[in-house]
Amino acid sequence: MAELTLTPNIDGGDDFYAELIGAHEGLSREESEAYNARLLLVLANHIGDRDVLKAAIDAAKRKD
């Protein structure tokens, strides 16, 4: 069973982050929300593994 990676895993994290922000440029709040949802689905499909997805859904929850 594959495990969810929760340690740094992106090469050039700053670049990635800038690209992510950049994708939202000029979008209204509503458009941004829609975009986030689409991006999420694209990434989820790429991962595919249901155990990893489940772990990710949990990991993203606020723990406090």
Binding site: E33, A34, A37, R38, L40, L41, V42, N45
Partner: protein, 541 residues
């Protein structure tokens, strides 16, 4: 005193005074079925075919007007065929494979539900419920004329019941006044609002969905739409939050508009207002006649237990699902399929009463699966929160361009029969390399056998199916008989039989229940093991 609650499409069982009504003491019947909808009639046919006397009581005199169910799935048709009513349904019904999904005004994608080869029946047909019911009632009368101990009494309304340990007393109202009847067993198939549930003070719990749907069945006059299923999410023609267009026989199309919760039903149901919606949706110049219209809301609910001593519930009375995915009548037919042989065995003294608890177990499992699936479709079609609305639309947007998102689009999942995993009647799998789809608990998939098909050969008795394996022609254990059906993988040149029943195995022996679910399987026959499996499958272990 005796008003109809709905208009009849076909008056198939007009009231006739029965001799029972003048008897000084109540007459006792082995089985009384309360409610002559599709599920009650199916129950009667199932029992009649096993020679168990059965009386159906209905508070109307025939089949209700207006088509509620239109989509009947393969398993349901296979069961109806076993009862002798499946073929006319398929003949009359519309078979379709092509579907289109739209979001706002754009086509998102289209799909072709290419049917799997090697099944006698299609994956589903569209057929108005009144036709479905009529074919079944005709079949019931046919059996009756051949001497089967079955009858259906119109305008016999059950007004109260007194449930005892070993029988039930029913108070019935007829146009000639009341009478009392007794039943060894009472089957409650009196629909989603089940008065019987109420009389017995039994709960029906689950989820109510705050949305209404306007159905219009229309007959096209000068225009024809293709035989496809079209589903719109958020159409901009202002006709509803989602719209479904689906073809039925007789050039009738079902249009189903989602119109929200707070609606003025009377206003919405005025023909002029329905026409306004339809015209906006179909475009100018399409001429049609209105056949039937109605507004429905729905819920996903079930009873905690389907069996209460001598009273057993089936169909909508036991569980109700949203119409998305067509699981109402389809799953009710599977209830009957499951109940019929068990009840007959218990009445015939061939199995302990506790066998009926496995009906409770297996069909609750089925109901939960159906409720889960139809709730998910409903959540997709009518998102309940802003976040789920955003995600739903994201799926639709992506589906237009990327194949990966299409399976996530859920405008109703096709009803498939449930596998009774974990049922107390199953014997653990002992066929190594055997296919998953025929594991113990699974409904037998059909397979071609030359010009014939497998399922009709299984029939409705206990069967020992041997594929390239030895076994006795029949054996009996504690009053229950098992008959062998000897096949070879070579009997089906298409390879479907081997793929569905052997998998990696070279040979296989299956014990198959009368409802065509697998009870046990091994690679070869073993007298001890199969006798044990039979005892287990009849509730004796």
């Amino acid at each position: 005193m005796f008003d109809d609650r709905y208009t009849l499409a076909y008056r198939l069982y007009p009231y006739e005074k029965h001799a029972d009504q003048d008897k000084p003491a109540p007459v006792r019947h082995p089985v009384v079925v309360m409610g002559g909808g599709p599920i009650g009639v199916a129950t009667a046919i199932d029992l009649a075919r096993q020679n168990i006397p059965c009386v159906v009581l209905d508070d109307h005199e025939g089949v209700g007007m207006g088509s509620r169910a239109i989509c009947f799935a393969k398993r349901c048709l296979e069961i109806a065929d076993r009862y002798g009513a499946g073929k006319p349904m398929v003949e009359k019904g519309v078979t379709w494979n092509l579907g289109k999904v739209f979001h706002r005004d754009d086509k998102v994608f289209e799909f072709n539900l290419l049917p799997e080869e090697g099944h006698e029946f299609p994956a589903f047909i569209n057929l108005q419920q009144p036709y479905f019911e009529s074919f079944m009632i005709e079949r019931l009368y046919e059996l009756q004329s051949q001497g089967a101990p079955v009858e259906i009494r119109g305008k016999n309304r059950v007004d109260s019941v007194d449930v005892k340990d070993d029988h039930v007393t029913l108070e019935i109202t007829t146009p000639d006044g009341p009478y009392t009847m007794e039943a060894d067993w009472l089957i409650g198939t009196d629909g989603a609002n089940s008065p019987l549930r109420e009389m017995m003070g039994l709960e029906f719990t689950g989820k109510v969905f705050e949305d209404s749907f306007l159905i219009a069945d229309i007959k096209m006059i000068n225009d024809s739409f293709p035989t496809e299923r079209w589903f719109w999410f958020e159409p901009t023609h202002g006709s509803g939050a989602s719209t479904l267009l689906h073809r039925q026989p007789d050039d009738v199309w079902r249009v189903d508009f989602q119109i929200g919760w707070d609606v003025d039903r009377k206003e919405e149901l005025k023909e002029e207002n329905i026409r306004k919606r339809l015209d906006a949706f179909l475009g100018e110049g399409v001429e049609y006649e209105m056949v039937w219209s109605s507004i429905y809301t729905f819920q996903c609910k079930r009873m905690k237990e389907f069996r209460h001593g001598r009273v057993v519930f089936a169909g909508d009375a036991a569980h109700q699902v949203s119409p998305f995915g067509a699981r109402g009548a389809n799953s009710g037919m599977q209830d009957v399929d499951n109940l019929g042989w068990k009840l007959a065995m218990v009445i015939g003294g061939k199995a302990p009463e506790s066998l009926l608890d496995s009906y409770n177990h297996e069909r609750i499992h089925g109901a939960d699966e159906n409720i889960l699936n139809s709730t998910r479709s409903t959540d997709f079609i009518t998102p309940k929160s802003e976040a789920s609305h955003i995600l739903r639309n994201a799926v639709l947007d992506l589906a237009e361009h990327h194949e990966f998102a299409r399976p996530l689009v859920n405008s109703g999942r096709l009803s498939v029969p449930c596998v009774y995993d974990g049922s107390p009647l199953n014997t653990a799998n002992a066929l190594s390399g055997g296919p998953e789809i025929t594991r113990p608990g699974a409904p037998c998939p059909d397979a071609p056998l030359g010009d014939e098909f497998l399922l009709p050969r299984l029939g409705d008795r206990f069967i020992l199916l041997t594929i390239d394996a030895d076994g006795p022609d029949s054996f009996e254990e504690d009053g229950v008989e098992v008959t062998r059906l000897a096949l070879s993988a070579d009997d089906d040149k298409t390879g479907a039989l081997a793929a569905r029943y052997l998998g990696e195995a070279k040979s296989a022996v299956y014990l198959i229940r009368p409802d065509q679910h697998v009870a046990a399987r091994r690679d070869s026959f073993s007298d001890t093991q199969f006798r044990k499996a039979l005892r287990r499958a009849t509730g004796k272990v």
